[in-house]
Symmetry: C2
Subunit: 383 residues, 2 copies
């Protein structure tokens, strides 16, 4: 875990150059960014302080020249430690004008009367109050959709980004290997969640923002519920799915465990999930589409009917989920450097499912697994 933190400046320069090429193609004079991953993508500004919703933060990327940060003064010192040099700040919160005038003036200076791109499409949101957004629009600026530019840029990870995702996948892999230390019959699921987070931290995660899972006999009903106080019991399947972070990048994969020897139906279902991952990985090459990966898995899982979860995998990086979805409607063409999860789910009996997830990066040939792959046989826990 001795890899250095952050990125060298050329990483950010490359991102800005690619963004500027995209802006030029789309006729945009600048990009206005408001969310944590968008601001961090170009600046390297990394802090948990976004957990507080009070203050807005803005980054402007002009079609020529370096990005400009328009941020609360409480963050100016940290931003000054990044490669960003033009930092404009105000004392926030300011109820009369919480950065809107400063942002408007800066946008006018940078973009003139030119169009300013804002991420407006699927998965995005604007992290500022709607009332302030209305005030900003009254200043005669020309805001337009970014045309998917941010999504396209972030979809393809650099070697340095892939290294960070590989590192946090390894951390989570070691935590999964140690689950038999913390989970056995009689331990409440909420205690398993808590101890599993501790294992992740001990193995090198900076944060554990996401643990989901379930435990039930014959498969579980749902994979997004919080853990309850019911103890694990013999014959349960325990699933743990985690999004841990290190240096600002996520992993997202899961493991299934059996409390004692699994019933044949569960063993078969788990084997089918591993086969589905194999089937998707087999065709996960540059040129294949997200939809093709969906169908390769869905054929094995439902005979082609699809499921209510809606997708069988997704992009991954600075967010737990980002970018493409493995659904029939997503015709995104895979390219080298895309990091995606393969997340098949199978119904064991009506209302009882098993899900499995791994992380791959698309390469020129076969994909590389960034998560240490699960084996066909579920790991057995003590009963």
């Amino acid at each position: 875990m001795s890899a250095r933190r952050g990125f060298d400046t050329p990483e950010y320069l490359g991102r800005v150059q690619r963004a500027q090429a995209g802006m030029a193609e789309r006729g945009l004079a600048a990009l206005l960014l408001t969310t944590e991953p968008e601001v961090r993508y170009f600046s390297g500004f990394l802090t948990r302080f976004w957990e507080s919703p009070t203050r807005p933060w803005f980054l402007i990327v002009p079609v020529n020249g370096d990005p400009v940060a328009v941020i609360p003064s409480i963050g100016a010192a940290l931003m000054a430690g990044t490669w960003i040099r033009d930092i404009r700040s105000w004392r926030s919160p300011d109820y009369s004008d919480d950065g809107v005038s400063l942002l408007g003036d800066t946008l006018r200076e940078i973009a003139g009367a030119g169009p300013v791109g804002v991420p407006m499409g699927h998965e995005t949101h604007l992290r500022m109050p709607l009332a302030d957004w209305a005030r900003l629009q009254e200043r005669g600026l020309d805001f337009r959709p970014d045309g998917g530019l941010m999504r396209d840029l972030r979809a393809i990870k650099s070697a340095a980004e892939i290294d960070k995702i590989r590192a946090i996948c390894a951390v989570a892999g070691r935590a999964f290997d140690r689950v038999p230390e913390i989970a056995r019959a009689g331990v409440p699921l909420e205690e398993v969640f808590r101890r599993f987070q501790m294992l992740g931290l001990e193995e090198g995660a900076d944060w554990v923002p996401y643990v989901a899972g379930a435990a039930a006999a014959g498969g579980y009903a749902d994979v997004i519920s919080p853990a309850g106080s019911e103890p694990l019991r013999a014959a349960d399947v325990l699933m743990l799915d985690t999004g841990m972070m290190r240096d600002g990048y996520f992993c997202d994969f899961d493991r299934n465990f059996s409390l004692g020897p699994p019933a044949p139906a569960l063993r078969d279902a788990h084997a089918r999930l591993i086969e589905a991952v194999d089937a998707a990985a087999e065709i996960a090459r540059p040129g294949a589409t997200a939809a093709e990966l969906f169908h390769a898995m869905d054929r094995l899982l439902t005979g082609g009917q699809g499921s209510d979860a809606g997708r069988l995998g997704h992009g991954l990086g600075m967010q737990l989920t980002e970018g493409l979805s493995l659904i029939p409607q997503d015709d995104t063409v895979l390219q080298p450097g895309m990091v995606i999860t393969l997340e098949p789910g199978i119904e064991v009996t009506p209302g009882r499912i098993l899900v499995h997830e791994e992380v791959i990066v698309i390469r020129e040939g076969a994909p590389e697994f960034l998560s240490p792959r699960a084996v066909v046989e579920m790991v057995e826990l003590e009963v």
Copy 2:
């Protein structure tokens, strides 16, 4: 830690009734809510799944009748476990229509041509893509600001909410008590952050979304930076500030530690912070304003000049920070049940600060401290 999870249905019925009274006053036919705390406030829908930005989630609170959830099908089972009965769902992500038609139809059915309130003011954001928001507006619905209704409702906590905040403050208090186990000269700050999160989990936190802090001789420069690999050294002041969660509610307070005996200037500065908390707590009664608490502290800290951090405390609850700010411009009148932090900061030497934070709830008489108060002398760590 045996307190039961969640709330009984009457808690939610009371929230809905108060919201409906506020809607009636403001002439609103319904409220449209899109963010995690807003949806959870009325429904009790609690999941870490919001960490994924992919899917939008909506809750509609009509001026008469029960709330209606319009959510992705992946969350329908969990929502059905709450008291909400009218749950409408679609298979998300759907690139052609990610819930917009279903939401629009439902709003039309519930609100008719009446105005629909949306939180648009300070600290709010709309958690859905701007392009979908534009499509929704094209349906002829009459969206208006909620007039601060959500902010006002959430500002005053029920007894059951206060119990949850008290419980997580106690968890963090026990973790702070154990800091000498994990922090001493030679331990890198990032390792302290990691081990401190583990202590919080071991003591009963469900999640530790926020740890900030710093360590430096003579005071620290900044309180939002991530931890680095530099080891703690003799004469450092270590500050740890944490927002841990249990059952959906946050604590937010900090502690300062001294690596060996503190220098007189640091000892004095820390004592001044404790005095500032005392001064604010002394006047923190119903009828006092947020600004008055600011001034009570600021007089002791800067002689009345204010600081760049911008505020000396804030509301707390389902979010790490929410609602009022202790700033000169905030004339919010304190009322029983408001939970706020008192967060004085003091400059020890130019560019070197100490900050301190405690959590109180406003009562009819003197406020109750929900965080176990720090003592005047900083706890000393081994050197």
